[in-house]
């Protein structure tokens, strides 16, 4: 298993990245003469929402990232990196943050990006009327004000050490104040941002074409003249197109297809361990999951290594029923729970189910390893006395009827930039998506303290306790993390997979030798 050992710059309390090039993002300047050309990128999840504040899919994040800028962007090490903001600082208790904007950024209509635009954008973003997805992930922002033309001040309701990182959230893009206050709807058709590229053509479900923004605020970037984004409705089609050389880059490859594509000549497979995981959500307030022994028995019924092999085709890491793995900084390692169906059976009997337990596990049809996991779990848990029947449903019905409502289903979550983000998203009592209703005050306290804590070693301790608590109590079964898998043609240079899975950095990508002329 690849260890994820990138040295990561820790919380930037008074951090300022002076250089334009953040850690890990270092395009090969040696090939600067090769700049230009058209990159074709394949997607198998179609981007449909163009309005950057309303995006909610990785493919849409990618488009938004190309067309718009935010205040900060997420580095490969999960740290905040400069985007429109070049430096930032906070007061001592981390309740007030000042961001200094670069002065050379302009929108594609030629207007400069100023603090007024930033303030208007965040106002719009936080307005419940906007219904922007993920606005609750931005942190407890109380107020955003301008401080001159090129600085903004954020005040938070409570101390919040992770603010620069949470502002990397993909929907937190800056749009012109006139648009934010006026014809906001127009962004659904006509993008207006300050990103490295500009929109040329967009047809939902088919393709999008962007071209280089000549006025982009970073010198020499983007390196490409043009990016064509081609949507495939399924992974097989996208894989075939990659193999046929119709696309230069595939951002997502299915685990089942990865070896074949990566082994093909002229193609380089891309693989990065990530905190993306599948979990089996159990509603801890209803029978039989209100009995921790049942949850523990289920946890004992999973062969985690085999699960990684069968569901992720080996491209993943086993999980230990906490949402953190080595991709996170405060991951606390512990030996993986071993597969012990006999023990599980005994525990189940102890919990009052000597004859086993019949359960219905719901899995959305998208992505398809949700149902694969369900099937594998069914088979693995059978000797322990679990009789799990699998019910798949289309994603819309799943969202409507099961998600956050059901008592036993397969969830699938992307990596979050911080530990706090993932815990607060899913497992605290006040979590936005508190599916398990585990509601453990002790756990809540640990997370809340960690949020406020500035000292790293203390935070590490707090998070280690939280992880241990989850391992023991198993509010959700988290047996398997997925690596990010992608593929690119050998001549594509400068692309780095981002473990979070929602940042791409295509403006730093170039075409090297052997690239076909387009």
């Amino acid at each position: 298993m690849t260890k994820f050992n990138v040295s990561r710059r820790h919380l930037l309390l008074t951090g300022a990245a002076s250089g334009a090039l953040a850690l890990g993002f270092s395009p090969k300047i040696a090939h600067a003469q090769m700049a230009g050309g058209t990159l074709r990128v394949g997607l198998n999840i179609t981007p449909v929402v163009l309005n950057p504040m309303l995006t909610r899919l990785n493919s849409e994040y990618m488009l938004a990232e190309m067309l718009y800028s935010g205040l900060t962007t997420l580095g490969l090490d999960m740290s905040a990196q400069p985007d429109l903001a070049t430096e930032w600082s906070a007061n001592d208790d981390a309740t007030e943050w000042r961001f200094i904007l670069r002065e050379n950024a302009t929108f594609s209509n030629g207007e400069p990006v100023t603090s007024a635009d930033v303030v208007a954008s965040f106002k719009k973003l936080l307005d419940p009327e906007t219904a922007a997805p993920g606005s609750r992930n931005l942190g407890p922002i109380a107020e955003v004000t301008a401080d001159g033309d090129f600085a903004v001040i954020f005040r938070t309701e409570s101390p919040y050490a992770d603010l620069p990182v949470s502002l990397c959230y993909p929907t937190a893009k800056v749009i012109p104040a006139a648009i934010a206050e006026g014809d906001f709807e127009s962004l659904a058709q006509t993008p207006l941002g300050s990103g490295p590229f500009r929109m040329v053509e967009f047809s939902a479900d088919q393709r999008a074409v962007v071209e280089k923004n000549p006025d982009y605020f970073l010198d020499g970037q983007p390196l490409l003249d043009r990016v064509e984004i081609i949507t495939f409705p399924d992974a097989a089609g996208a894989g075939a197109a990659m193999l046929a050389g119709e696309i230069d880059m595939l951002l997502e490859v299915q685990p089942t297809d990865f070896a074949r594509i990566a082994d093909a000549s002229g193609i380089t497979g891309l693989r990065t361990p990530s905190g993306r995981f599948l979990d089996v959500v159990m509603d801890c307030t209803v029978e039989p999951f209100n009995d921790p022994r049942v949850r523990a028995a289920l946890a004992m019924s999973v062969d985690r290594e085999a699960m990684v092999e069968l569901v992720a085709e080996g491209y993943g890491t086993p999980g230990n029923d906490s949402p953190l793995n080595e991709a996170y900084r405060f991951y606390s390692g512990a030996p993986y729970k071993s597969y012990d169906p006999e023990g599980a059976k005994a525990l189940l009997a102890e919990a009052g189910y000597p004859d086993g337990l019949s359960l219905e596990l719901v899995a959305s049809a998208k992505p398809d390893y949700r149902s694969a996991m369900a099937v594998v779990l069914r088979e693995m848990a059978r000797p322990a006395g679990f009789d799990i029947s699998v019910k798949t449903m289309d994603h819309s019905s799943y969202l409507d009827q099961v998600w956050k409502k059901g008592s036993f289903y397969v969830g699938f979550y992307n990596m979050q930039p911080t530990e706090g983000a993932i815990f607060n998203l899913l497992f605290t009592s006040g979590a936005s998506w508190n599916e398990t209703r585990w509601n453990n005050p002790e756990f809540d306290a640990l997370i809340e303290t960690a949020d406020r804590t500035i000292d790293d070693s203390k935070r590490a301790e707090l998070y280690a306790d939280a992880q241990a608590m989850m391992r023991d109590e198993v509010p959700a079964l988290i047996p398997c993390f997925f690596d990010l898998l992608g593929a690119q043609a050998d001549y594509v240079e400068g692309y780095k997979q981002h473990p979070r899975g929602s940042n791409y950095g295509l403006h730093m990508v170039s075409l090297g030798e052997g690239a076909p002329a387009r």
Binding site: A235, A236, G239, Q254, T256, D257, R260, A306, E309, L310, A365, D368, S371, A372, A374, V375, V376, R378, E379, S389, V390, K391, T392, M393, D394, S397
Partner: protein
Amino acid sequence: MRKLFAILGALMRNPQGALGLVLFLLLLALVVLGPVLAPADPESFNYGARFAAPSLEFPLGTDWYGRDLLSRVMSGARSTVLLALLATGIGTVAGALIGVLSGYLGGGADEVVMRLNDAVMAIPGLLFALMIIAVLGSSSINAVIAIGIAQTPGMARVARSVTLQVRALDYVSAARARGEPTSWIVLAEILPNTIAPIIVEATIRVAFAVMTLATLSFLGLGAQPPSPEWGLMIAEARSHLFRSPWPIIVPGAAIALVAVTFNLLGDGLRDVLNPRSGGH
């Protein structure tokens, strides 16, 4: 009973019918005995034998979990075939009732029913089934209902046209002239005589139902994993397409074989039951 044997005998003399009948009997045996005869548990994994090619141990190879494809196909025959029969049964009974009644009543009622029927027929069957399943949720039985409903208008049309032919025959006139009650005329005079063409139509529709069921499962709307339903097997196999073709070829061939069986049987029955093409 004697009539049944006569039909079977005639079928055996018809090349398509004979082949169809033989295949059908084999299929029937598989439906009844398939799960019993299957050499292995269709659901148990063989970690060590994923993507195995056909061998002595796994006559048709294994899939991505190392499950024995022969056992899966054999176990799946029951649900696939029975569900297809059930779906066709629903469509046939509902369609025949609507068609026969509409055809017998004639006039305004017929006009209204048939116009509605035509309008519903204009919605492609697959789309219709997709919508019905979207409402009911995906499961085998809902797929069966959806296919049944989607088949109803077509069946109603066939039943109606047969009814119109039968209705014009003198024995119906004779019954009406005798003052027979409508129930007798519809149930005893008309219905038995529309049965033959309806059965032929239904037989061929079973083939369609098998394929549509598989298609729905393929689109993720039918059977639930890990059931060895053939369409579902193919759908699941698609993501492992390039690692081994067997998980897709085996159930694909099974579907084709069943569809061929019912097509052959239907064509054979058509020839046998239709006096026009019954030969000299």
